[in-house]
Symmetry: C2
Subunit: 319 residues, 2 copies
Amino acid sequence: MSPFAKRKSASVAACGESALLEKIRRWLGPVSPPPPAGMGDDCALLPPSRKNLLITTDPVIYGRHFDDTVPPAAVGAKLLKRNLSDLAAMGARPTSAVLALTLDPRVSVHWMEQFYRGLAAAARRWRVRIVGGDLSQAENFIGAYLTLLGEPAGRRAVTRAGARSGDSIFVTGELGGSRLGHHWDFLPRLAEGAWLARRPVVRAMMDVSDGLAKDLFALAPAGTLPALDPAAVPVSAAARRLAAHTVQSPLQHALGDGEDYELVFALAAGTDEGAFTRAWDRAFPRTRLTRIGRFIPQKNFPPGALRLDRFHGYEHLQG
Amino acid sequence: MSPFAKRKSASVAACGESALLEKIRRWLGPVSPPPPAGMGDDCALLPPSRKNLLITTDPVIYGRHFDDTVPPAAVGAKLLKRNLSDLAAMGARPTSAVLALTLDPRVSVHWMEQFYRGLAAAARRWRVRIVGGDLSQAENFIGAYLTLLGEPAGRRAVTRAGARSGDSIFVTGELGGSRLGHHWDFLPRLAEGAWLARRPVVRAMMDVSDGLAKDLFALAPAGTLPALDPAAVPVSAAARRLAAHTVQSPLQHALGDGEDYELVFALAAGTDEGAFTRAWDRAFPRTRLTRIGRFIPQKNFPPGALRLDRFHGYEHLQG
């Protein structure tokens, strides 16, 4: 659906700020608590917590992260889910979020309603309260900027640091071809991330957002490279479908497309990987878990292994 | 300074994402802690706190909150200061912030450097750590979205709710004409907000960002109206200068311009206002504190008093 109103009378500018704010509160419903714990004061005032606090921020922008083909409810859900994926990557669960929205004055109130209802449904599903926001205007631009707070689901948060040379590399789900639909219909791996964080043999973890080829270097211990078995990389059906129409191979799509929102992690060398994957299969029988390689000292890099530095992930700034 | 590079080679797009992220870390310096407490992981991981958590979000957008006349260092500082003003309004102090930045590819690296150095200087001054961020691209748009965390400076946070009929209305500083410079060279009233929050007779407080005429209704107890003495409103010199070139009076500018970033609060009826203002003058000898009126039951509204509902504040959505 196009975000722009056909008639000016159906636009957010015609609706006006205070009427729109009232509608937003109604669309969000119980997801939006009353002030001071929610919108309506200078800040939201949240209770103290004994746990560590996690914070992440990601936007969705018209023309970059969504277009007219994505239903507005899915845009609202995607905004929350891409931030939830960052919490999942550390084994955390969400608590609260604030949303700053910048709108072209011609955006339709109907599009906004669907956007907020999609956001509210996702917030209910993953128990997130939307506690604050800001509304601003710009020409020819629509952007929604969410900042999400969370806390470790268990005793610890898993960071990107901690992998050691020789550790195995595992990835959840399948990779590539996200633009065919997965980029907005994915489910953030919150339960999976929490499960993995409870296991000390999971030494480091992150989510795959810019493409495995770009992201995986952030997990590699100093002096090592990720050595992947090309045949092991779980290539999605979408990556294969896409490759039929592009110059790239399915594997290139799997490694470079980005927006997979899967988890990639380092499993301590010496772990009983058979027992580990059997436990995973019992917990998540419908989600594939694949060992795709391991971190190897740069100087011992095996000639047959996949060199990820020859692939390219998503670049956020393009000339 | 124009944010756009004259030559393509001086643009952020030519610089590239990873080089730019490295520069950003350097420009921020010690304000940007290493991960996991800072940028570089999926989320920033912050220590637990025994205090309440406050959260607020506000952007600065090219063409709305700044233009080519504002030095980029002042844009970076303004981004932090407008969020700090929201903390000040509740008697809180800042802790951490995350920043999502959306850039036109033609933005110059030089402009970015000045922007970040201005942000970093303000962050050092008010002891804020920049712990996370996101970088994205859009055509013909520059927007910086900051989410700021804080905690009560003392025992309590002051909300907008709590004023009672008969309470006096006080405002700090002077109002109006902000666009002549105050909108970026102001100092957020953090010390003043903390001082006021320590006094239980301060029943409700907020900052003046959209103009007193619009904002003050948020403090008014149900069934009351703010009755102002027009002669008491502290009109700034800038409001007078501006009025010489507009159709509006200095008072109209003082009540409607917005971006004052002053504090307005309700003082409990029956308070010794002389002693209160003398204590203020000792604490803040260079900052004016003015009693501008009080909250009066709607049905008893005095005919001579200023009706704020006849003025207009800043509208965030305009047709």
